[in-house]
């Protein structure tokens, strides 16, 4: 059945060619995922298999469902249909393997905590109920801040950090989790050059350690240099595969094409009929 879906969807072509690839153990395998907000579908029949150890960039126009895709993987929003496997099992059994970097704007940075406090949140799951952050975890949090190059800002209150530094705090919090799969929502959005460099080198390091990173990205100019696997998304998966073969004019046209796609029109129609 999966094979059938793969042949039908454009996403299947590239992934299907790789014969050594076993989707069941893949860091992230999505089958037939549909997500709707107020009954209006934002992701439509998504099939996606992400191979191990790849730096994956997810690109697509505004409203293409990039953040929604990540949130669906984390069970943060209900899905209308479909299955998502993280290393072959549902997310709720694999939480310890997945680190999440939300969009920077999703939280209020005028919050009475230090950078170190935020990074330590990455250890809360390990610590469990009621246990305070231990000395070792605190040291580890400092180390994670060092890895993103802002160890000297550990005790700074988070509103006194620049946007790029705040983004790095979020990355350090994800590092703190010791995960295998990293889901990052627009980490490059509105950051300074130094932060961009720090994030790229962090991604490379993670990749060398065999970790898999799925990164929502908006800058087409850098996408092929930063990522070795690409997912082009616009409510459905337009293409997914190695950067060189996927980043084609034709695929981009399909993803960003100016006209309302038929899917979008159908979604609008559906919304109005149910209301």
């Amino acid at each position: 059945m999966n094979q059938l879906f793969k042949r039908l969807s454009p996403a299947g072509d590239a992934a299907g060619e790789d014969l050594s690839f076993h989707p069941d153990d893949a860091p992230l395998a999505i089958h037939d995922l549909t997500v709707a907000y107020h009954r209006k579908p934002v992701l439509w029949d998504v099939d996606l298999d992400i191979p191990d150890g790849k730096l994956v960039g997810v690109v697509g126009p505004n409203g293409a469902g990039k953040s929604t895709l990540i949130k669906a993987c984390l069970d943060l929003i209900p899905r209308a249909s479909g299955e998502i496997g993280i290393y072959g099992k549902p997310y709720r059994e694999q939480r310890h393997l997945v680190a999440y970097v939300p969009q920077r704007e999703s939280v209020d940075w005028d919050f009475p905590v230090s950078a170190l406090d935020v990074v330590a949140m990455g250890a809360y799951r390990r610590l469990g109920w009621f246990r305070r952050v231990t000395k070792e975890e605190s040291e580890k949090a400092r180390d994670c801040l060092d890895q993103v190059g802002i160890g000297h800002l550990a005790d700074r209150q988070i509103s006194q950090l620049s946007g790029g530094q705040q983004q790095r705090v979020f990355l350090a919090r994800a590092l703190m989790q010791d995960a295998e799969l990293y889901l990052m929502d627009e980490p490059f959005a509105a950051v300074d050059a130094a932060t961009e460099e720090a994030i790229v080198s962090l991604l490379r390091t993670l990749s060398e350690k065999g970790k898999t990173c799925l990164v929502v990205h908006h800058d087409l100019a850098t996408v092929t240099t930063y990522f070795d696997w690409l997912v082009l998304l616009n409510m459905r998966v337009v293409a997914s595969g190695p950067s060189e073969t996927t980043f084609t004019r034709e695929n981009l046209q399909k993803t960003y094409g100016g006209k309302l796609s038929l899917l979008e029109k159908a979604a609008e129609a559906l919304k109005h009929t149910v209301d």
Partner: protein, 444 residues
């Protein structure tokens, strides 16, 4: 006016009649301060307000039931149980409206607040006409009153406040995560719905035990004000919570004491006014975030900028007179300074006055100005920083030379020694040569 002896007696809890009430509002204040911190950070203040208004029907209905069962209807635990049940009903109504319709949160809260309060007021009127019942005193649940209290009532309030405080400290880490980043908490597998319910449960507990003394209209202020005041003093959660607890406790203690001494002042209003005064003090004077310290910091920066502008202008006048390179400290005419920058006569006068006070100027005869030795050294340093920064901007930040002076103006005043050193190294490495006065290190 109460006498001094009486005041001391009440405030120091020596008066038997008021002791229990004052103690209970103090404990209530501590609990409200702790839990209010989370309520504030979770941005649920309005929900707390709706919740407290929703307790009124419960008070009236509990009274009616107790009278029907043949009591006086004045049992505090019974009334508070009723309040809890209708408060929770109000919460569920809010959740129901939010989850089944597309109305926004504030609509759901406004609806619950006004409708439940309306039902409460109407049913209070109705129970007053019940045969054989005296509902007098139930109004105190609306505005709060320091009625004398029996020991069992006090114990109930003390135990609930104590448990609520302990729970809020026990769940510190979990609540912190929930308030800061609920999506991350959920992704990590924390039961965010349960935590939210627990937090609102604590808010309900504090609201209900505060009904009698503070009243349901003002209890939300007692929850929010201490936390908001504490936020001005600190940037960390735990200190904020402890301070908030202290502010809440002091408000409860002083407020109830004042109210007990002046029979016509409702306790709730006085308690909230004491808390509001502490809030006002914090907002004005707290060093990290207060208004006045911030104005003072801005004033200091402006003065520093003015001083540096004056010194650089003076140095540039000397350069123009003597040619760039080896500049020595000689007197120069005052009008030259005036034409250097767009200072008004008054501004210049005040700048010169300050410069004299700071020993940057020496007497040099009528119409003439002369920098002191330290003023000259400082002027050389300031000018140097300005040019270093300008050079960096032109060559490496791609800023048009015509804009550079203004940009340099903004930043040079905050260049610390390390940054200056970094600039020097950078420009040296890139072998940029511009006329920069020699470093006046001997002076600084």
């Amino acid at each position: 006016m109460p006498e001094l002896a009486e005041i001391i007696e009440v405030v120091l809890l020596q008066n038997y009649n008021t002791r229990l009430v004052v103690l209970s509002t103090t404990l209530l204040g501590v609990a409200a301060g702790l839990i209010g911190s989370f309520l504030l950070l979770r941005k649920r203040s309005l929900m707390g307000d709706a919740l407290s208004h929703a307790t009124l029907p419960g008070v009236a209905i509990a009274f009616a039931i107790m009278v029907t069962l043949g009591g006086t209807g004045k049992s505090l635990p019974g009334l508070l149980l009723g309040a809890t049940i209708s408060g929770v009903a109000g919460l569920f109504t809010m959740l129901l409206i939010r989850n089944t319709t597309r109305l926004r949160d504030d609509v759901a809260m406004g609806f619950v607040l006004s409708v439940f309060f309306g039902i409460g007021v109407a049913s209070l009127q109705m129970v007053q006409s019940l045969p054989g019942a005296s509902a007098a005193g139930l109004e105190s649940f609306i505005y709060g009153k320091t009625a004398s209290m029996v020991q069992s009532d006090f114990l109930l309030i003390a135990v609930v406040a104590g448990i609520a405080s302990l729970v809020s400290i026990l769940f510190l880490k979990e609540f912190l995560l929930l308030c800061f980043d609920d999506a991350y908490a959920a992704a990590q597998g924390w039961p965010t719905f349960f935590l939210d319910v627990l937090l609102l449960g604590l808010v309900t507990a504090v609201t209900v035990i505060g009904l009698q003394a503070v009243g349901l209209i003002l209890i939300i202020a007692f929850l929010i004000t201490p936390a908001t005041a504490a936020r001005f003093w600190t940037q960390r959660l735990l200190p904020m919570m402890l301070l908030s607890a202290a502010i809440g406790g002091v408000s409860g203690w002083l407020g109830a004491s004042i109210s007990a001494l002046t029979p016509n002042l409702p306790a709730g209003a006085v308690i909230v006014l004491v808390a509001a005064s502490l809030f006002l003090l914090s907002m004005l004077f707290a060093p990290p975030r207060g208004v006045i310290p911030r104005l003072f910091r801005q004033y200091r920066l402006r003065r520093k900028v003015d001083r540096q502008h004056f010194l650089r202008a003076a140095y540039e006048i000397l350069e123009e007179e003597q040619g760039q390179g080896d500049v020595s400290n000689t007197p120069f005419p005052r009008p030259a300074l005036q034409s250097k920058r767009s200072w008004s006569v008054r501004e210049l006068r005040s700048i010169l006055k300050i410069a004299k006070r700071e020993d940057h100027l020496e007497p040099a005869g009528p119409g003439m100005l002369r920098l002191s030795e330290s003023g000259f050294g400082e002027a050389a340093r300031v000018t140097r920083n300005h040019r270093l920064w300008e050079t960096y901007l032109i060559y490496y930040a791609d800023i048009a030379p015509s804009h550079v002076d203004r940009d340099a103006d903004l930043v040079e005043h905050i260049l610390g020694p390390e940054l200056v050193h970094e600039l020097e190294e950078f420009l040296e490495k890139e072998s940029v040569t511009t006329p920069v006065p020699p470093s006046p290190h001997p002076v600084s």
